[in-house]
């Protein structure tokens, strides 16, 4: 009998860690989207919201926790991916999808790739907005004019196309990922299977469509000033 690995090291424990971390990331995406939607209400509302976030002393600790969760998610996934690749050293000459009850899809077979693109995107995205130019505007004192920055960034059609493409990939990642995260926590039964699968795909669609609509709206409507 081999020694018992620590729960986080076993194949099942790894999946549990990945799925719990993903719940925080999904929650972040939903909150992020809810905040971004305020851009539809004009510069005062949007800048007021962003200033409230920036001025909150809890922001930095929360950002650090979120970054750590993000990195844990990536680290555990890559380790698992490497191990999984090693589990079949000689590939099949011919391998077909089984279909039938299987939920194998474009989304489920490209998780590591969509994940890699998301990581790259997060770096670019933070550089563009969080560490982007500090336009100031009079609000409660001088506050960052993120509304103006967003209007400028999304006036470039290439940027809009890039964002839309990446958001589709995030949608794809979540299409398989959300319901998969529940399954990895052992939350599956013949009774709940449909709820988790449909609910997960719904969340994927909300997040992808929501984040795609904003840059497209900015590009065509140019915002309200």
């Amino acid at each position: 009998m081999p020694p018992q690995p620590k729960i986080g090291q076993s194949s099942i424990g790894t999946k549990i860690v990945i799925s719990i971390s993903s719940f925080f990331l999904i929650l972040f995406l939903l909150l992020h989207l809810a905040g971004n939607v305020l851009v539809f209400f004009g510069p005062a509302t949007f800048n007021g919201y962003s200033h409230a976030l920036i001025a909150n002393p809890l922001l930095i600790p929360i950002e650090i926790i979120l970054a750590v969760i993000f990195l844990i998610h990536i680290y555990k996934t890559i380790r698992m991916w490497v191990r999984n690749r090693g589990a079949r050293p000689v590939p099949y000459a011919r391998k077909e999808w089984a279909h039938h009850t299987s939920r194998k899809s474009f989304s489920s077979t490209t998780m590591i790739l969509s994940g890699a693109v998301i990581l790259l995107f997060v770096v670019i995205h933070l550089e563009t907005f969080k560490f982007g130019p500090d336009y100031l505007v009079a609000g409660s004192g001088q506050v960052r004019d993120l509304y103006r920055l967003e209007m400028e960034i999304f006036s470039n059609p290439l940027t809009v196309a890039f964002y839309a493409l990446v958001m589709l990939l995030i949608g794809s990642h979540l299409w398989h990922g959300v319901s998969s995260a529940f399954q990895s926590l052992g939350a599956d039964s013949p009774r709940w299977k449909r709820t988790f699968r449909v609910g997960g795909r719904l969340i994927a669609i909300i997040i992808a469509v929501g984040f795609i609509v904003i840059p497209i709206w900015v590009y065509f409507a140019g915002g309200r000033s």
Partner: protein, 261 residues
């Protein structure tokens, strides 16, 4: 239906350490009523008559209940027909002139012995690690001596239907054994006979599974789709729950397991 002629591409590998390759054969005079393995028998008789080495493949009961046959046919373990082992796959599901690829299960934990035969003793070691009941439960009890709810009995029976063929591992992109181990853990966890060692069993079997070099689960459900017994992946979820309980609340056995070696 008239007899068929098929083009086969069969994995030939003389031994575990020798590299293998796909070799083309022609299968002539194949009756659509033959099973897939009978078709291979016909091909082998032809090879033997020519003085060539017969294709090695595993088979036993030929009625889909023993779990010995193990061929990946046209890229799908046990072939494209659902809910059957390859011995129960009949040639009427193929058409005349079709090219059929035949490969062994492919996984690090299932090394090729010869041609299409793989060594599945990794499964035996997982069972030996905990897939049993140590208490003496005597002979077959009279019906309803030990009352078990119908729903529970059905769930346990669905899991117990696993014949240990390894198609789940063969189908999984990660060569994961989660469905097999999930079925074995579930089947005993749902029964009062298995209750005593419930959590120790889950932890021991998962540890052995990981040590054998199987991958982990991506929740695609290819295993469920190819399983000749159509065992659902809710068994994997149950295994996760059993294992989580084992490692979070039942620590006593953990100490035993790590010090008994």
């Amino acid at each position: 239906m008239a007899n068929m002629t098929l083009k086969l591409l069969v994995w030939r590998q003389p031994g575990p350490t020798v590299p293998g390759r796909l070799v083309p054969y022609t299968a002539d005079q194949i009756s659509p009523d033959m099973s897939f393995l009978e078709m291979l028998d016909v091909v082998n008789e032809g090879l033997i008559r020519k003085g060539e080495e017969a294709i090695a493949f595993d088979s036993d009961c030929s009625e889909g209940i023993c779990g010995t046959c193990s061929l990946v046919v046209i890229g799908i373990p046990h072939g494209p027909q659902r809910g059957t082992t390859v011995c129960q796959l009949h040639m009427r599901h193929f058409h005349d002139g079709e090219t059929i690829t035949i490969e062994p299960w492919r996984a690090r934990a299932f090394p090729v012995v010869k041609d299409l035969v793989v060594n599945r003793s990794a499964f035996d070691r997982i069972i030996a690690a905990g897939g049993y009941v140590s208490v003496n439960v005597g002979g077959a009890p009279d019906g309803n001596t030990l009352p078990i709810g119908k729903k529970t009995a059905d769930l346990a029976m669905d899991s117990a239907a696993c014949i240990g063929c390894g198609a789940c591992v063969a189908a999984c992109k990660n060569a994961s054994a989660h469905l097999f181990v999930g079925a074995k853990i579930s089947h005993l966890a749902l029964m009062p006979q298995g209750e005593v060692e419930r959590y120790e069993r889950a932890a021991r079997m998962v540890a052995q599974m990981d040590a054998e070099g199987f991958g982990s689960c991506s929740n695609e459900g290819e295993c469920e789709a190819v399983c000749p017994k159509e065992i659902p992946i809710s068994n994997i979820a149950r295994m996760i729950r059993e294992y989580s309980k084992a490692l979070s609340t039942h620590r006593k056995w953990q100490w035993k397991a790590t010090t008994s070696e």
